[in-house]
Symmetry: C2
């Protein structure tokens, strides 16, 4: 399948963006979430399980920095850790996710002990960290490109939650509010890095495969939440 | 939960063996498999997906040896790698699993390209390898103790397949035939190692947690196969 000829930048970007078909936007669980079909406990399960994915993000990003010999890339990537961890306790994306948890009626004990987290969610999220630790840093950066497809999803989710789950306190939605623009910036930055550093066909193919892997991680995560609920 | 007092050997063994309740023997997919309720394609999916778990076993065992400073344990554990990989091409447990694949009508191309393997199966099996690579070797040995519960399952499976899936060529069942006794020996050996090396309460608790983790790996693996079929 791989030939020696590098793809043009346009073809490479098109091959990456074609993965929007496999983005978790289309997952049945997200569709039911947005359609207002989840009961309160199902929405809480989603927030509590998704916490496990949120909390690994700074470690995933640190693994990319740890593997990257290019100072300019490391400097840009550092912002992602600060974005999630904040500059002080109670700030940042993780704190905002915990605020969402509070807004849907989860105690922080329920979230932080992870007792609502199903094993398949752990395995999928951990696979992403292991990928970032063990694969070339360019592949781990490419795996982050699911954010190309995320801004629209964030906007849709906010209006869906406001409309269909009126019992959710609105201050819980700050994570999505801020993430909408941040995801756009992050995706553009990551795309620049991938285009500048994946200039041979094998590197381009590896980047495309990495994005495909990441789509599997996100999809499998929702599969596990959905399966645990239908099996319950 | 953890106190400083070590459990007696009997109590420790009882705490480990109590995990038979969570062993994948009881998983709905295995129950349907044994009851003869799978159609030919579902049985093939199970064999092709389970291959991914089988194939990581020698790497998992090598990771344990790589982390173990005790020569006597390393020497005993080495047999497990030989058991699966054989001493020559076409021998060993992995070759026997491929013979099972052949006996259920899978081409080796379908198995070895792993295109029937669902992502959640990969993530669960890979989590077991990562566990063996990154956790203390005593925990990884304890995780192998699901084999305590395996001999009965192997016997039941062989008679279930002979009775309910007469189209499966009987020479495909050699893996289970041999595994029945091998699992008993392996489990006894691993239990000796765990009892001899986990002599404080924190080490015992970590061993119990490792076996619990492994039960999650196996269960989640079947969840993923089952979910992919019901979602298909």
């Amino acid at each position: 399948m791989t030939t020696d000829t590098a793809l043009s930048a346009d073809d490479f970007v098109a091959a990456l963006k074609a993965h929007d078909q496999r983005y978790w936007h289309a997952h049945p669980f997200h569709q039911r979430l947005h359609a207002g079909e989840l009961d309160e406990e199902a929405l809480r399960d989603w927030v509590a399980n998704r916490w496990y994915y949120q909390k690994i993000l700074p470690q995933k990003d640190a693994a990319i920095i740890a593997n990257c010999p290019v100072g300019a890339v490391r400097r840009r990537w550092l912002d992602r850790i600060v974005y999630q961890d904040g500059r002080a306790e109670g700030e940042g994306g993780l704190a905002e996710w915990l605020a969402l948890a509070d807004a849907v009626g989860l105690t922080s004990e329920e979230v932080l002990t992870e007792r609502r987290v199903v094993p398949g969610v752990r395995f999928a999220a951990d696979a992403y960290v292991t990928f970032a630790r063990t694969r070339p840093w360019t592949e781990a950066v490419a795996a982050s490109l699911t954010e190309l497809f995320s801004p629209d999803l964030m906007a849709e989710r906010m209006s869906a939650i406001r409309q269909n789950y009126r019992w959710v306190r609105p201050e819980g939605l700050r994570y999505f509010e801020k993430r909408k623009d941040a995801a756009r910036d992050d995706a553009e930055s990551a795309l620049d890095i991938v285009l500048a550093n994946c200039t041979t066909r094998p590197l381009q193919d590896a980047a495309i495969a990495a994005l495909s892997f990441k789509c599997d991680v996100l999809w499998s995560l929702l599969d596990s939440i959905e399966h645990s609920r239908t099996a319950a």
